[in-house]
Structures are given as structure tokens and as C-alpha cells.
């Protein structure tokens, strides 16, 4: 599906959290990076329909307009928030069944089972979410975002709180989803993963785009050897 964002903006009184922003995204893995408060999560929340895109702003997923039919839009989006949003007194199994039912996924049992196997959570399936560690909650949250294979994935800091092995598994899953045709937008502070995974990277600073392009092109433009240094180059304060 094609995601078209045009002229979205966010202002909090005097502070402009996001300057007029436009982009097109289709069938690629796009990285959204920036320091804390750069506007990454604000933009992601706008795409999901949690924040209004402003009077002139428009977000379209193919023909679906986020302003007019946010529920229709959410049917096609798998969103992973920065902190896991779960019902603490449900078990992982009940929670994933609930998400699957709302997403109208027919017979989700097998898929839920496969998520438990991928993340090694089979033994915890009946524990209460409240009693799980942060990393486990994150895994459930990822499963909830990816369940039903939504064509657009918005992943806000997906690697936070995960162990190295799970980070690798998640990278593999993201690549697989892309091969199956999904469009993916990822924000992260782990530059190595952004470098390896993304076809295109957008660098935000104080709500403005300060750089965008393929990771290798950006490295060349900044004349830096690593993506970590490239990021620092684009986001440093010029005197």
C-alpha cells in the first residue's frame, strides 16, 4: 500500500514539534531517526490517527484518508508504540486473541502459536501480562502489532528492551515482512540496525528534515565511515 503524507504539522503553543512535513512511502523499509524530541513519535502517532495532522495536513493510505476514516486506516496498520500498551490482567494468549478478534482475523490460533514459538513465550502464555518482564511485554506488543500481517508497519523503537538474540529475530521478521510486500517505517536509536535494515532514512532535528536518502548515500554526503557518525554529523549544532 502507498502511504502519502503531505503538509502535516504539529504545534504546541510556541513550540513547533513538527514543521510542515511530506513524504511518500511504498514497499520499502524507511528509517526515521533523530534525537529525543525531534518529532519522530509525533509523526508516527499522526500516521496511526492518534494526533490530528493539522488543518492543511493530509495522510492517505492508498485512498483511505486518516482524517475521515481513522478506523478504516487502523485496519491496515500494525503500530508498535514505544512503551508496550497491554491489559495487565490479561494473559498473553487472551490479549493476542483479543487483538486478533478486533482485527477480524479468522482463526488466529495458529498465528498466535507461532508468535509464542518465535519469541520463546510458550511457557508464559497463561501468566498475567502484569507479571511479565519489560522485555516479554515488548515481545507481546510486537506480536500484537504484526498479527494478521498488516500491509503498513509503524514501529516506534522496536528494539528497545530486547535481548540481542530477539533483536536479530526481529530484524529477520522485518525483512520477511518487507519481502511479502509490507511498507515499514521504523524509528530507532540503534544506528547499526537502521543502517542494515533500511532502504531509506529520514533524519529529523527539531521537527525538520535535515537529511534523507539511502544509508550509503548519506554516509558519502557526510563523508563518514559509520552510520553512527553520519547521524551525529547531520544532527550536530552548527555555530
Amino acid at each position: 500500500m502507498r502511504l502519502s503524507i503531505s503538509n502535516v504539522t504539529k504545534r504546541y503553543d510556541q513550540l513547533i514539534a513538527l514543521h510542515p512535513f511530506s513524504m511518500e512511502l511504498e514497499g520499502e523499509i524507511c528509517g526515521l531517526i533523530g534525537n529525543n524530541g525531534a518529532g519522530k513519535s509525533t509523526l508516527m502517532k499522526m500516521i496511526v490517527g492518534l494526533i490530528s495532522p493539522g488543518k492543511k495536513g493530509q495522510i492517505l493510505l492508498d485512498e483511505i484518508n486518516a482524517k475521515n476514516t481513522p478506523e478504516e486506516l487502523k485496519k491496515h496498520i500494525g503500530y508498535l508504540p514505544e512503551s508496550p500498551l497491554l491489559y495487565p490482567r490479561l494473559s498473553p494468549e487472551e490479549f493476542l486473541h483479543y487483538v486478533a478478534e478486533v482485527r477480524e482475523i479468522p482463526d488466529p490460533k495458529e498465528e498466535i502459536e507461532s508468535w509464542f514459538n518465535i519469541f520463546g513465550l510458550s511457557e508464559k502464555r497463561n501468566a498475567l501480562l502484569n507479571d511479565l518482564s519489560y522485555g516479554m511485554k515488548k515481545k507481546i506488543s510486537i506480536s500484537a502489532a504484526l498479527i494478521g500481517s498488516p500491509p503498513l508497519l509503524i514501529l516506534d523503537e522496536p528494539f528497545n528492551g530486547l535481548d540481542v538474540a530477539t533483536m536479530e529475530s526481529l530484524s529477520k521478521i522485518i525483512r520477511e515482512r518487507h519481502r511479502e510486500g509490507a511498507t515499514i517505517l521504523i524509528s530507532s536509536h540503534l544506528m547499526a540496525y537502521i543502517d542494515r535494515l533500511c532502504h531509506r532514512v529520514i533524519i529529523l532535528k527539531e521537527g525538520k528534515i535535515v537529511g534523507q536518502g539511502m544509508p550509503d548515500d548519506l554516509k558519502k554526503e557526510a563523508d563518514q565511515g559509520t552510520f553512527h557518525d553520519t547521524f551525529l554529523h547531520f544532527t550536530r549544532d552548527f555555530e
Binding site: 504546541y12 503553543d13 514539534a17 492518534l50 478506523e71 487502523k74 491489559y87 490479561l90 483479543y98 478486533v102
Partner: protein
């Protein structure tokens, strides 16, 4: 879809209830039974000392005016808490906001949740009517209860969309409303109520919940952040800082933290308790021959009992306390002082009210003031001291401390103020028990 969402919500509520079932179904009834049986015995023996309430009669017109005034206050005080839950801000975001659930279902579920939250108002309203024998009016609280969530949701969303999330502007409207409530003929009230219901409910449903909730979310979030940084908050922090100078140094940081958290609405119960205290003071106008010490004890109990939900809400953060060089006794003592500080104004408020209603000669007034102070201090100490006796369950702690408070009030106010000395061995025993419980508490 509604069925799916409700099923999961009910499951969560069911789990919460199941988690606490021994409290609700065994410990609670046992403690209440014991308190009732012993209390009945005590009151049978000392009833004449306690006194009788003055017969009250109010006209139907006054009752309607008062009911509308309370409803206006409810809407006013519930404005910010409701806004916090209504808008999908960082703090209130739930998984349902991320899922393709249409706004009609979300509204219906939110309405039902609000209906559940408002249930105590319906019960209390009905009980007041039953108390005054007005059974023919029982349909009123039921009707108001059914429509109130829709009015509140509609009002909050509309007000924030057209004006601001700031409650100070709303306070101005409240004054205007108070004026109209006092001058308008009562027959017009139902017309106005119908008009606002018919206006706000559809507005909240079709525009507010569907569109404005997302449009105004950023504004509300920003306001909440600014609200926390407001200069009044700094003034409150300064006041708390000064207040804490009177307590032992070892518990000062803990107490300061608890008071700041209370001022910043970490324990929303404090507002409910202040409203209840206001009602207790109001009830003094009809106290008949009941001792003002009873009202003082009740008021002190209400305010001091804020410590119980605070302690319970802090449980997830207890590992931070455990990682600091703090002894269990310091933790317990900080809660004891917290309860005392919150209840401190109560004896003086009760005394002030009493002197306004029935002025006493200076020497009698001084004795009364001293007795009230001792009663308030004893009750607050027992509530704060028994903080660990409820096993993290506020309801259970209310019962334990209420029972001890009744005894303390009777001993001090009816027998002799010297009886206050009896609370020292009780507090010592509560301290030992609390230390054992805190040291053995499993950190989650």
C-alpha cells in the same frame, strides 16, 4: 465488536476482583461483622453520651436546588480527571486506541465505564432520599445517573474544543451557575436540564468523541504538562517544604515526596476525601446533641485515610525505596506523619464551625479545642499507624483503622482526654507489626 471489547474489559475487572476476593468476601465481611457487633455493644452502653441527631426537614424546592448544585460541583471537579482519560494522550493511551475499533463502540464502552464510576453517586443519592423518606423521588437519581456520563463527556469535549482545558475559566461559569441556581424558579430547572442534555449528548457523540478528541489531544497534552509546571505548583512545593521542617529529619524526604505526589494528583482520592470532609462539616448544622468530637473523628478519619490508597499505589515503586538506605521504621513513620499532617486542619475546622454555630465561653471553648485536637491526632495516628495492617488493600485497612478510631474517639471525647495516652502502646505494637511486614514484603 462491542461484545469483544466488553468481554475483555469484563475479564480484566473479573481478574481484579478475583485477585482481591479474600478481602471482599471473607476478611471484609468478618471485620465489618466484628466492628458492627462490638460497635453496637459500645453504642448501646454509651448511646446517651453520644447524643442524637437533630430532626431535619428541607423543602422539595431546596432539595432540588441542592441536588443541582452538587451535580454542578461534580461536573466541575470531574472535568480534569475526565479529560485525562478521554483524550488519547501519552498517559491515557490504551491498546484500544491502536486497534480498528470505531468511535461508536469506543464511546459506548467509555460511557459504560463512566456509568460504573458514577455508581456511588447514584447509591448515595438514593440513600439520602430514603433517609428523608422521599421514596417517590427515587426515579430522579436513577435518571440522572443514566444520562450524567453523556452530559459530562459532551460537556468536557465541547468546552475544551471551544475554550480551554483550564479549569480556572470553568470556575467563572460555576459562579454564574450558582447565581442562576439561587434565583431561577425550580420549575425551570428541568427545562434547562433537558436543554443541556439534548445539546451536549449528541454534540459529544457525533463531533466530540469522533473528531474533537483527536483534534484537541495535543492541546490537552500540552496543558497537562504546563499544568504540572504552573507557578502554583511551585508555591505548593514551597509550602510542603516548610511543612516538612516540623517533622524528624530522617523521614523528611519521604514525607516531602508523598505530599508533593498528593498535591500533583498521584492519589486522586484526596479530592474525594476533601469533598466528604466538606459534607461532614455541612452536616454539623444538624448535629443535634451529637458531640462535635464525633464529626472531628469522622473528618480526621476521612482525610487521614488518603494514606491507604497512596501506600497501595506506591507499591510498584517500592523497589526504589528498598534500594535506598531507608529502614522499615522510617517508611512506616513517614506514613504516620503523612496521615497526621493531612488530618491536622480538621480539628480546627470543626472547632471553627462549632463556634460559629454555637458560640461557647472562652474556657469551655479552649477545652473543646484541646479535646478535638486530641481526637483528630489520635484518629489520624491510628489510621497512619495501621497502614501495613491492610496487606496493601485499602478497604481492609479502612475497616481496621475505623474500628480503632471509634474506640479512640469514645475514650477521649466521652471518658477523658487523658485516655489519649492509650494510643502509645497501640502505636508501638502497630510499628512492630509494620516493620515485620515491610521487611518481609516481596518486591515485585
Amino acid at each position: 465488536m462491542l461484545k469483544i471489547v466488553l468481554k475483555s474489559k469484563l475479564r480484566v475487572i473479573g481478574r481484579t476482583m478475583t485477585h482481591d476476593w479474600p478481602t471482599y468476601f471473607i476478611l471484609g465481611p468478618v471485620m465489618m461483622g466484628v466492628a458492627f457487633l462490638l460497635g453496637r455493644r459500645i453504642f448501646k452502653d454509651f448511646a446517651s453520651e453520644v447524643g442524637r441527631i437533630q430532626p431535619v426537614s428541607i423543602s422539595e424546592e431546596t432539595a432540588v436546588r441542592l441536588a443541582f448544585a452538587f451535580l454542578a460541583l461534580k461536573v466541575f471537579f470531574n472535568f480534569l480527571p475526565l479529560a485525562r482519560r478521554l483524550y488519547p494522550t501519552e498517559r491515557a493511551l490504551t491498546v484500544d486506541d491502536l486497534l480498528p475499533i470505531n468511535y461508536r463502540i469506543r464511546y459506548q464502552v467509555f460511557y459504560l465505564e463512566q456509568l460504573f464510576r458514577d455508581l456511588p453517586f447514584f447509591v448515595v443519592g438514593s440513600m439520602i432520599l430514603l433517609f428523608f423518606g422521599q421514596t417517590q423521588m427515587l426515579l430522579w437519581p436513577f435518571t440522572i445517573w443514566l444520562f450524567l456520563p453523556g452530559i459530562e463527556i459532551g460537556f468536557t469535549l465541547t468546552w475544551i474544543h471551544f475554550w480551554s482545558p483550564d479549569r480556572r475559566q470553568l470556575a467563572g461559569v460555576l459562579f454564574v451557575m450558582a447565581f442562576f441556581l439561587s434565583v431561577l424558579p425550580v420549575v425551570q430547572f428541568s427545562w434547562w436540564a433537558d436543554f443541556f442534555t439534548l445539546l451536549l449528548m449528541p454534540l459529544g457523540y457525533y463531533r466530540g468523541f469522533k473528531i474533537w478528541r483527536y483534534q484537541d489531544m495535543g492541546r490537552v497534552e500540552q496543558f497537562m504538562v504546563r499544568h504540572q509546571n504552573h507557578k502554583n505548583k511551585t508555591a505548593a512545593s514551597d509550602l510542603i517544604h516548610r511543612l516538612c521542617q516540623v517533622v524528624p529529619k530522617s523521614i523528611r524526604p519521604l514525607l516531602r515526596r508523598d505530599l508533593i505526589l498528593t498535591a500533583r494528583n498521584f492519589v486522586p482520592h484526596v479530592w474525594r476525601n476533601m469533598t466528604l470532609l466538606f459534607l461532614v462539616l455541612l452536616a454539623m448544622t444538624t448535629r443535634g446533641t451529637i458531640s462535635p468530637a464525633v464529626y472531628c473523628a469522622l473528618g480526621a478519619f476521612i482525610m487521614a485515610s488518603t494514606v491507604s490508597p497512596l501506600f497501595s499505589l506506591q507499591r510498584p515503586f517500592r523497589p526504589m525505596d528498598r534500594a535506598l538506605p531507608l529502614s522499615a521504621e522510617q517508611v512506616w513513620r513517614a506514613k504516620l506523619y503523612y496521615a497526621r499532617l493531612l488530618a491536622l486542619p480538621v480539628p480546627f475546622l470543626v472547632f471553627g464551625f462549632e463556634m460559629m454555630l454555637r458560640p461557647l465561653p472562652m474556657n469551655e471553648g479552649a477545652v473543646l479545642c484541646f479535646t478535638l485536637f486530641l481526637v483528630g491526632l489520635a484518629v489520624a495516628s491510628l489510621v497512619g499507624g495501621s497502614i501495613c495492617e491492610g496487606d496493601q488493600r485499602p478497604v481492609l485497612q479502612y475497616i481496621v483503622s475505623a474500628f480503632m478510631s471509634i474506640l479512640a474517639t469514645l475514650f477521649i471525647a466521652i471518658f477523658n482526654p487523658v485516655m489519649y495516652l492509650l494510643i502509645f502502646p497501640v502505636l508501638s505494637s502497630l510499628k512492630d507489626s509494620a516493620i515485620t511486614r515491610l521487611e518481609n514484603e516481596e518486591v515485585l
